[in-house]
């Protein structure tokens, strides 16, 4: 059995990648590697077949139910903090189970469980995290506001948008906890097409992501804890497209970070994806992109058409604020050349491209294999280039 950290299911990239995303939460004590491995063993016993989406969702749900039950037992006995640990685990396992399920009632009900346990777990284990509703068009976007530690006055703040398959319950920990320790606030937000916003509110993604970007700025600017002159926009994975777009078109942001660049030519990417799908070698489920972009019949051809709007050409050049592009040299989802292209196009006088190679670690997609190293790097760069206001 090949069963290592980054390639849990060998050549089965779809399952390995999805498992890595969940394992990436290990440094924050919110998932248990022993449990994840027990799931993995069952999945391998069931054939390690990426098209067997039932196997995937059944095994992750079974473990999620198991730990949720342990959490509820602990809660009944008044062992609240212990219950909190189990609820967090249940949340991530349900969320992982949901990932491969075709959009519909079953998917929604699994997500509802993920959200239920996330909410219970966060309330117990992270009582200082504030669940907020960010006004957006005629509705709101759900987010966690994580306050800087030990800061009295207004503090620098980072707005974090997710990628295609992630959620604020991940970024509020892997960014929020680290940034708080550095004295920064974090707004970890499920934007259009992301997490709870897509799944519960049915709000799909959009190419003009500056609209939610502006909404997020307006929101944080209304909070007394926030230093409006030091608000940074950051996105990870697919959010690596959103962040430069927002930085270019809402220049109130003092800086930006693409924590993983996105494909420069998104249209060409989807054309290729269509080909790969026929061969079954995609990391992402075939429905994911049409679903995230709100195509009613999940017709991939329409997604390919729509994707022509998703471009940073002529936009990235307008970015003026300090901007950091991070990428993993061994990223199997989006190759590092894409990061170089984005970096080259950015208009900022102060811009930085940081590629993590295999020898230093964090060489995978969005540094998921060593998320701490990636986020630490970002936090230091922000402190030195944006928040220190040297020469500004």
């Amino acid at each position: 059995m090949i069963n290592n950290w980054t390639d849990h299911f060998g050549d089965n990239l779809s399952w390995s990648n999805a498992t890595m995303v969940t394992k990436g939460m290990a440094p924050y004590g919110v998932v248990a590697i022993g449990e994840i491995e027990r799931i993995g063993q069952k999945l391998i016993a069931r054939g390690n077949n990426p098209t067997d989406k039932d196997a995937w969702s059944q095994e992750w749900c079974a473990m999620a139910e198991h730990v949720a039950k342990m959490g509820e037992e602990a809660e009944t006995k008044g062992r609240t903090l212990t219950a909190g640990d189990y609820f967090m685990r249940a949340g991530y396992y349900f969320y992982t189970a949901e990932r491969m399920v075709y959009p519909g009632e079953s998917k929604t009900s699994i997500y509802a469980k993920a959200l239920k346990y996330f909410n219970k777990g966060f309330k117990i284990r992270y009582p200082k995290f504030e669940r907020v509703a960010v006004p957006y068009e005629n509705t709101t976007l759900p987010a966690y506001f994580v306050k800087a530690e030990g800061v009295t006055g207004p503090a620098p703040t980072v707005v974090v948008f997710d990628g295609l398959d992630n959620c604020k319950e991940m970024s509020s920990l892997f960014c929020g906890l680290e940034f708080a320790r550095r004295g920064f606030n974090t707004l970890a937000i499920d934007g259009p097409g992301q997490g709870e916003t897509l799944r519960i509110q049915k709000i799909p993604s959009r190419w003009d992501y500056e609209v939610p970007g502006k909404a997020a700025f307006d929101y944080v600017a209304s909070r007394k804890e926030v230093d409006k002159s030091k608000v940074v926009i950051m996105g990870y994975s697919f959010g690596g497209y959103c962040a430069p777009r927002i930085a270019a078109l809402d220049q109130r942001y003092a800086g930006g970070v693409s924590f993983g660049a996105m494909w420069w030519d998104m249209h060409a990417w989807l054309v290729r994806s269509q080909e790969q799908m026929k061969k079954g070698s995609m990391a992402t489920s075939h429905f994911q992109i049409p679903w995230v972009f709100g195509i009613p019949d999940l017709d991939f051809n329409k997604a390919v058409e729509l994707m022509k709007n998703f471009t940073l050409e002529g936009i990235a050049q307008q970015v003026k604020s300090p901007f950091l592009v991070m990428h993993g040299k061994n990223d199997r989802i989006i190759p590092p050349e894409e990061a170089e292209t984005l970096y080259g196009k950015l208009g900022s006088a102060n811009k930085m491209l940081k590629i993590f190679d295999a020898s230093e670690g964090g060489a995978e997609h969005c540094q998921v294999d060593d998320r701490q190293a990636g986020v630490n790097w970002i936090a230091d760069w922000l402190a030195e280039n944006v928040f220190a206001a040297k020469g500004k």
């Binding site: 059995m1 090949i2 069963n3 290592n4 950290w5 980054t6 390639d7 394992k23 290990a26 440094p27 924050y28 004590g29 248990a32 590697i33 022993g34 449990e35 491995e37 063993q41 342990m70 602990a74 006995k77 008044g78 062992r79 903090l81 212990t82 640990d85 680290e178 320790r181 550095r182 061994n330 295999a358 020898s359 230093e360 670690g361 964090g362 060489a363 995978e364 294999d369 060593d370 701490q372 190293a373 630490n376 790097w377 936090a379 230091d380």
Partner: protein
């Protein structure tokens, strides 16, 4: 990345109990962000590629030391650049890797060199990441034991406190994190002690282990009694792994402790355990432990002395004296100390209020001292203390 064939979380190197057990201890620190599983995986891949070499102890040392040096260099660089928190994270990893590298080296200058690197990194990490942790000296027999005192944040009045002693190969730099942080959430302070025969106290201060650990237990209590933060009516003694013996011994004699926890029991019959270990060594059957470990930790002169010392490590006549609430936990599939040892200790304990908790494979935490899911074991102990240390 790496394409090595390996085992699983619990048995990383199938058929190699010594490496598997030792690497699990390092992996067990993952939930606190104190190690990087990617780096561990890389070390393991390199070791696996050298598994055909005859000297496994050297392979172990070299690969961990190589990773430790790389990460320590990153830490030093970050620190020099003023990136203190990033440096702290790297120092913590490097500390754990150096400590792991040191594990299989026979006592002597080389081993001490690695330990000094470990302690440099560990202490640099604690200073940068955990400002609420103090490195303290606990007066003991005219010398001092090295310890960390972690204050529960936001506690103003005097608070309950847990004294944690290690096992044969662990150290306060692990327990202050995996137990201290969780206890702090419950409003408990933690004194993580390198007792006689443990960590810094053995390596840098030359103080060996002893059967009558109540002397160390009393010293820890006396120390805590001098601190205004501590509620002396509510101090618990806890030991993990081999410390499961020490905690029970202390609770038998030092009645000022309000509760006790053996976070896994040790062997009930230590004499036979050591006798068997000697026989296995002669038969060329390596176990989990280093062949030199017992002699070194206890300061034994020779084989005969090893056995004489082991004879004194018996709770048979003393565990009945324990009166405080007492918890014994164990993992059902513990490969280092079999689960059947735990009921022996549990039965012998004199307390009216006592509990035996065996973690099954189904619920997780079933390995030695719950190292496979340490959070689970420690959370259980913490909840039990909240409910039973009144």
């Amino acid at each position: 990345m790496s394409e090595h064939k390996c085992g699983n979380w619990i048995e990383h190197f199938p058929g190699n109990a010594k490496w598997s057990n030792a690497i699990q201890i390092v992996k067990g620190m993952a939930p606190w962000g104190a190690v990087s599983l990617r780096e561990i995986d890389e070390v393991a891949a390199r070791m696996a590629s050298r598994a055909n070499e005859s000297d496994h102890e050297t392979v172990w040392k070299e690969e961990w030391a190589a990773m430790a040096r790389t990460v320590a260099a990153e830490a030093d660089k970050a620190d020099a650049e003023g990136r203190k928190i990033t440096a702290g994270d790297f120092y913590m990893r490097a500390g754990n890797y150096y400590y792991s590298a040191e594990r299989m080296i026979p006592p002597g200058e080389e081993r001490l060199g690695y330990y000094k690197e470990a302690i440099r990194c560990y202490h640099a990490a604690v200073a940068r990441l955990y400002p609420n942790v103090e490195h303290v000296d606990v007066p003991y027999q005219g010398k001092a034991m090295a310890a960390f005192f972690m204050k529960a944040p936001g506690v103003t009045a005097s608070a309950p406190t847990v004294v944690v002693v290690n096992g044969m190969d662990n150290c306060k730099e692990m327990s202050v994190i995996f137990a201290g942080l969780e206890f702090a959430k419950r409003g408990f302070h933690t004194l993580a002690v390198d007792g006689p025969g443990q960590g810094e106290t053995l390596r840098l201060r030359g103080i060996h282990g002893r059967y009558d650990y109540e002397l160390a237990g009393a010293a820890a209590f006396d120390y805590l009694a001098t601190r205004p933060e501590v509620d002396t009516k509510r101090i618990a003694i806890m030991g993990y792994s081999f410390g499961g013996y020490y905690a029970a011994r202390i609770a038998s004699f030092e009645k000022r402790y309000a509760a006790g926890v053996s976070l896994s029991a040790a062997y009930w019959d230590m004499y036979n355990w050591q006798l068997q270990a000697q026989k296995n060594r002669k038969a060329g059957k390596p176990g989990h432990a280093n062949p030199f470990q017992w002699r070194w930790v206890m300061g034994a002169k020779d084989e005969n002395d090893e056995l004489e010392i082991a004879k004194k490590f018996s709770l048979a006549a003393v565990a009945g004296n324990i009166e405080c609430p007492y918890l014994v936990t164990h993992g059902q599939t513990d490969k280092v100390i079999k689960a059947e040892e735990a009921p022996k200790l549990f039965e012998a304990i004199g307390s009216k209020n006592k509990q035996l908790k065996i973690f099954t494979a189904e619920e997780g935490g079933a390995e030695h001292a719950h190292v496979d899911d340490r959070q689970k074991g420690v959370a259980f102990a913490a909840d039990w203390l909240v409910a039973n240390m009144k």
